[in-house]
Structures are given as C-alpha cells and as structure tokens.
Amino acid sequence: MENQQRNISTWQLTSILISTMIGVGILTIPRTSTTDIHQMGWLGTITGGMIAAIAIASIVYLGKQFPGTTYVDYIPKVFGHRVGTVLSYPIILLFIFFQFINAGMAARGFGEVVVTSVLQDTPLEAILITLFIMVLFLCCHEVEVVARVNELLIPFILVPVFLIPLASFMNADWYNLLPFHIDSWKEVGKTSLHTFSVFTGYELLMFYFAFAMPGAKLGIAGGTGLGYTIAAYFLTVVAGISVFGHEELQRLIWPTLELVKTTQQSGWFLERLESAFLAIWVASVFTTIGNMYYAMIFSLRLWFRQGIRFQRISALVITVPLYYFALMPQNIVELFSYTKKMTKFGYFPTIVIPILLALIQWIRVKLGSRRENSKKGGT
C-alpha cells in the first residue's frame, strides 16, 4: 500500500536482516555444516550464503522496481493484472504459511534449548507462552517500532555472536581444520543447501523493503546484512571445528552452546557463561520470531486492506495455532526432522519465487522499454 509511512533507514533494514537471519540456526550450524564435508564445513556457510546472496539480489531488484510496496501488492503487478491477481493468492499464502512454520519451529527450538540446558524444572509451555506474549506485544505496534526494536537489539545479537567464537579460539586445536581438501563437490552442494536454512529470514525483506524511507540504499542494506551474517556463521563453524573436531561435533546437539561452556573464565566475575549467553540470546531469537510473525500478520492486514485493530486481533487469534504447531514435535529428534522438511519446503518461497519474480519483472522491463523505443522511433 502506498500510503504506508516509509521511514525505515538503511541501518534499520540492515539490522532487521541480520537479526532475522541469526536465530536458532546458529546453535546447530557447526554440526549441520560438517555432517557431509567434515573438516571443510566452513565452506558450506559461504556457499550457502552465496545462494542467499542471489535471492537477496533479486529481492533488492524487486524492491527498487516497486518502491513502497510489499510483495502482497507487487506480485499481481509482476504477473500482469488479471493473471497476477489469481496467481498471487497461492504465492502469498505460501509465504504466510512459511513464516508461520518458521516462527513456530524457531520458538520450539529455542524453548527446547532453554528447558534442557538452563531452566530444567520449567515446562516448555511456559517458555513458549512467555515468548509468544512478547511477540504479541510487538505485533500491537506499527512497523517503525519493529525497525527500532531491531536497531536497539542488534548489539545484543552481534556482540555475543562474534565474541564467543573469538573467545573459544583459546581452546582451539588448529590441526582439526586440516586438510584443505574436498572429497566431492556434490557433497559441498548438498551441504550448502542444508546450511542455507540458517539464512532463511532474508525473504522478509520482500516485506520490510516497502517501508524503507525514500533514498534508503536497499542494496547496501542487503549486502552488509548478509556479509555480517556469513561472517558470524563462518567464525562459529571454524570455532566449532577447531575446538571439537568434526567427528565430535556430530555428537553434540547444540555445539555452539558447548563452545560457550568450554570458554570458562575462572578469575572473572562470572564463572560460567552459558546462562548469560542464553539470556542474551533471547534477544536474537525474539527478533527472529517477532520479525517473521509481524511480517506475516502485517501481510494479512495488507491483503485484507484492514487497519491496526485487525492486526492486533489477528495476531492474538493466530498465536493459538502457532502455539499448538510449536508443540507438535514430540521430542527433539522429531523437531530436527521437522526442521529438515521445513528446509526443503522453504526452497520454494525463499529462493525460487524471488528469483522467478525478479526474472519476470526484468523481462517485462526489457520488453516495455523496447516497446517504448519502437514508439519513439515511430514518431
């Protein structure tokens, strides 16, 4: 919708991108990236990031083509008026559904970590409910508030994410990273498709770019955001491999949490850091879930052309199925198999559709300019 306020700055977009991408995935990435290509797992984060880079580039292109409009409004325009309106319904639904399950899985993953490692006596339901209450509170506000919250929380996300790998290098055994050798490039491709799942969240830019203030540099926001995220994942995986070795990593559920545990600093004020890390990490998980859920609710609001009241009520109503969905996996093994399925399902809304839309729009623009040129030639 054009009449929305457009006041999100480039830096706010960058922080939205970073804080959405860095979420639950960072706890498992040292394991998932080393399953197939072993000591070369760090390569997976870069290649996975490259896939995301293509998709982000096409989202940036779309954002520049349709300034001030979300995907809800520009998908019909890309496909043309009649066909587009019909085609846009399943695509928008797909998007909203993907955000729904992504938010649900992230919440469950987080709850699982907290319950098993810090608050052993607290039921999982209590963690999920409090988390959803926070998200609901966020959904009662306008988009600019979401941008500001992301901007304020970004230090809480970036500092631990970079500090922990660097601190754990003290226990690193650098031989674990050797040899620099790749068995098969097929495995690399497989790994990068796996690790790609930790980058999901960037597709929300199709939504948040619409609120960028005129003159905001979308490309720079996308590039820097992705750069920081790749760097964070890369460092985490390198730290994981160098401290534990790729074989031991396969036996750890949350290798990054184990990394925190290994960096005990006796003589400091605090003796063990994992509780503090998890507490600070709440910010990161909250922004991930909050941004996803907010984008989903706001898309619904735009789709049905309603106001803030609709947004608040639907946020409240949809939390109930989200809560049940988050509780669906019976245990942690099932949770991981759900996540795997979700990753495969996610290729469609996160890679295929943005690239497809950008391609069609590009062809459209080319054809349009040729038609214009021929018109000019005629006169």
């Binding site: 810090v118 963690i127 941008a147 500001r148 919250v149 304020l152 605090l270």
Partner: protein
C-alpha cells in the same frame, strides 16, 4: 513571491495569536460579559455581585482633583498597597498634577466587566471614575513571594545556584536574563476554568520546529480542566501516551537547563504557582544528563555520565539479578562467593524472591517516611531505619547480609539520576522485574527488558521518538549521548529535534 509568502505567514500568525487570546477569555464564561456603565456605584455593585460580596474585596472611594467620584477595587493581600496609595490615590488627588490617569507602570483600560473581574482576581487594582465607562486596570500585583533560592531537587557542584520560584514573571525573567535573544518568544495562555492559571510557552523562533511548537500550543489550548495547581497537571494531560510509566516531558527547577534546552530547539513551559518548569520534547537521555555535564571538562563529564548509566541499571536490575543468580543460576557465581552467600542464607527461611521483595519494600517505606519527617529528626530516623533495622534483620536471620548490601546499593543507585521523576519510573519497574526473575531467572529479566524496549521504541514525545538518537540512529546526536564531546566538537546542534539553524558555532573562529 516571497514577500507575499511572508505577508501570508504574518497574517496567519496574528490570526493564531488572536485565537489564543480569545481562548484565554473564553474560560471566564461564568461571568456575564456586560459593558460597564458610567456610574461608579452601579459598577461597584455589579462587581460585588459577580464576586459574591467576598469580604476580602476592598473598595476605596475618593474624589479626583476635578471633583469627580472615583473608586479603587482590589483584593486584599494580592496588591502592593504602596503603589496604590502613592501612585494612584495620592497622584490622582494631587491638585498640582496635570494628568487624568494613574501613574502606575503597567496600565490598561477596558469597559468589559469580564476583563475587570479577571484582572481583580489576578491582583490588579481597578480604578473607575464617575462619568467614564472605561475602567483603568493597574498592575499592582504584589503578594509575598518566596525569593529565588537554590533548587532542592537538582543541585549541582558547579553551576548557577538560582532555581525557579512560584512566581511566573520571576521565572520568565530568570530565563530572559540568561537568553537575551530577540527571537525568544513567550506565548501566554490561561488554563483552568476555576484556577485561571497563567502559563508561558517559550521557544526560540528560528530554532524550534514550527509544527512542534504549534502542536504543543494547540494541545495546551485544547485542555479543558478546572484546575492547574502544578505543572504536573499540564505534563500529564499533554503527553503523548498517558498510560506509559515513562515521563515524556522533562521537568526541571533550573533556569539554565531550560535555556540550554531552548537552544537545542525544544520548548519550555512555565506554569504560575510552581517552581517546576516543563521541557518538551523529552528523550531517553533525560534520565542521566545534568546541566553540570557541560560546565565541567569533558573527560569527567563523560565519566560521570557512564557512572549514572551504570547506577540506573543497578537500580533497575541488581535485586532481580541477585534473585536470578541465587535461585536459578548459582553455577555462574564464583564458587567461593557462592559458599559465602549460602552460609549467609542458611538461616533465612524465605526464598530469595520473598527476601528481596521484603527488603525493597522496607527501604521504600523508609524513603517515603524520611520525606515526610520533620527536618531535624529526618537523618536520625534514617540511621535508625537503615542501620539498626538492617543489622537487626541480618542477626535475626530474616535476610542475608548480601541482600542488605544489594538493597543499599540499589537505593543509592536510584538517586544518582539527576532527574527525580525519571528515576521514579526506574524504581517502580524494579518490582515487576524482580517477580519475573523469581519465575524465570535470567530469561525472565530478558523478557522484561525486551518488553520495555518495545514500549520505549513505540513512545514518541511530540513527534520525536523517545529512543533518539539511539534509534532511529542519529550520529550527530551520538556526540552528546553517553559521551559528552568537547564543546568545539559540538559545533552543530543535534538534528533530531528538527532544528532549523543547525550551526552552533563557526569553527574557523574557535581554532586553537
């Protein structure tokens, strides 16, 4: 074209001013707006009727030198009697005098009853002469007022010692005295149907963002309340979000603070009858910034700001961190300390949440009581309460010694904030964090902080987001947020209040 534009602007301004003046008169609606007659006796009975024959209404009849009957009407105690006797009565009856009007320095005349009543109520002496329907309104206000004293709530080590007092004109003079800028504008308004309180809205034209000034003026104008006894009434009625625990308008007793804020493009509001002026818009930095920061050298000013930020965080979080650590995460505390803490807590029968709530409640009672206590015995009771009760509670096994230290540090920390009303918000929010920490440990604390952060991000004070310059990020404002950059680097005004003249000082002339 620009000529036309200017003329248009001027016309708009005069119309607006007229509208504001009309409004000031509108709130006297209970008085019927009659014209005065030419007979003094009739006029006196009209006024006496409107004021219900109050016994403090003084009517002094005399004859002017031409032999006409005249009368002065004023309220007892609100006027300076010397002015009336020397410059009105003696002057008007003196046969040598060649003038027909009184010799007071501020005089106006009207024939409207409503205006006469209004002026009598605000301390004017009204002079009426037989045969004329015009009454002279002499400003003879002069009641006993407190002199300018050092502010009680915002004392500084270095800086001016004068603070606002209860009289509006003295307060505005304190500002004028520091700011001799011809562009300083003062808009007078009257709020309160019954109290008829005078309000000055001050801003610097060419600095303050005009739509913001307009917004503040129109919000005050729209107020429809019967009394304004303190600036807090105005503050709570015109702030953006009335349900928020955070003050969205700053209050201060210090004229130098008001002037500094006017120079940043903000708007000052002074209310008659209170030493507390208001500054709008307010942002998060009001919690820990003091005018003293600019008077001292910037190293120490920056350091003190950091100390204030730390002490505010302590005031908010320390008790809940204690609860979280001792109840949920004892593994985080160094092992020797945890043994000492466990030894101290071994006799305490309550969980740490109850222990902390109990002690915090005790200290709040002590604090509130010490405000009410008569001056000389205040410190004594403080010592008895804090030391004796604290010591006895530990030896009785009710609380652990660590808890006493934490409560003491928390309380002192909450008073390190230079703004008392901002610190109230922090003191209040301490209790919900403690409850959440008792339920979920560090996770609960983080939950609460995020909720507060969302709320703070959604707050706006007259169009300025509350968390500026942190978010939206404003690099020019960051120079004066946590660090106080040296003055020669603060050569531009912060842009977050939409100032129009951005240059504070020209750099070339200030080179070393």
């Amino acid at each position: 074209m620009s000529q036309f534009w200017k003329a248009w602007q001027k016309r708009k301004d005069t119309l607006q001013e007229k509208g504001l003046k009309d409004h000031a008169n509108k709130s006297m609606e209970s008085v019927s707006d009659l014209r005065l007659t030419t007979s003094v006796d009739e006029n006196i009975s009209l006024i006496e009727y409107q004021l219900g024959k109050s016994d403090d209404l003084v009517v002094r009849r005399f004859q002017v030198k031409s032999g006409k009957d005249a009368a002065i009407i004023f309220l007892d105690g609100m006027v300076d009697r010397n002015i009336i006797s020397d410059f009105i009565i003696r002057h008007m009856t003196n046969p040598n005098s060649t003038y027909d009007d009184p010799a007071t320095n501020e005089m106006d005349s009207t024939d409207g009853l409503r205006q006469v009543i209004r002026n009598i109520l605000s301390g004017s002496a009204v002079l009426m002469i037989q045969g004329s329907s015009n009454a002279f309104l002499n400003n003879t206000r002069g009641w006993d007022r407190r002199s300018v004293e050092e502010p009680q709530t915002e004392s500084v080590v270095r800086g001016p010692r004068d603070g606002f007092c209860e009289t509006l004109c003295v307060n505005s003079a304190l500002i004028r005295f520091r700011l001799k800028d011809p562009n300083l504008r003062v808009r007078h308004m009257v709020v309160g149907q019954r109290t008829q309180t005078d309000i000055y809205v001050m801003y610097i034209e060419g600095l303050a963002h005009p739509p913001m000034v307009q917004e503040i003026l129109s919000r005050i104008e729209r107020l429809n309340m019967d009394s304004v006894l303190e600036s807090g009434y105005i503050e709570q009625m015109i702030q953006d979000r009335r349900w928020s625990p955070f003050p969205q308008i700053q209050n201060t007793e210090r004229p130098d603070k008001v002037v500094a804020n006017l120079l940043e493009g903000k708007v000052g509001i002074l209310v008659d009858g209170t030493p507390f002026g208001l500054i709008a818009p307010a942002v998060i930095s009001q919690f820990y910034q003091s005018p003293e920061d600019y008077y001292e050298r910037f190293y120490i000013a920056t350091l003190i700001r950091f100390i204030r930020v730390i002490s505010i965080s302590i005031a908010l979080l320390l008790p809940s961190l204690y609860i979280a650590f001792s109840a949920f995460h004892p593994e985080m505390i160094p092992s020797r300390l945890v043994i000492a803490m466990a030894a101290g807590r071994s006799t305490v029968p309550f969980p740490s949440l109850i222990e902390a709530l109990f002690m915090e409640l005790a200290i709040e009672i002590l604090r509130e009581a010490s405000v009410r206590l008569p001056g000389p015995i205040g410190p004594t009771i403080g010592i008895v309460g804090a030391l004796v009760v604290g010591e006895a509670a530990v030896s009785a096994g009710l609380v652990s010694p660590v808890m006493v230290i934490i409560v003491a540090v928390t309380t002192i920390g909450s008073f390190a904030s230079p703004s008392y009303s901002a610190a109230i918000a922090i003191r209040m929010l301490r209790f919900p964090v403690m409850l959440l920490a008792g339920m979920f440990g560090l996770y609960g604390i983080m939950l609460f902080l995020i909720v507060i952060l969302i709320h703070l991000s959604s707050l706006k004070s007259f169009g300025v987001p509350y968390m500026t310059p942190l978010s939206p990020l404003n690099l020019s404002g960051m120079k004066d947020l946590f660090i106080r950059a040296p003055h020669h680097l603060l050569n531009k005004r912060p842009t977050m209040f939409h100032v129009q003249d951005k240059i504070r000082m020209r750099e070339e002339e200030n080179k070393e």
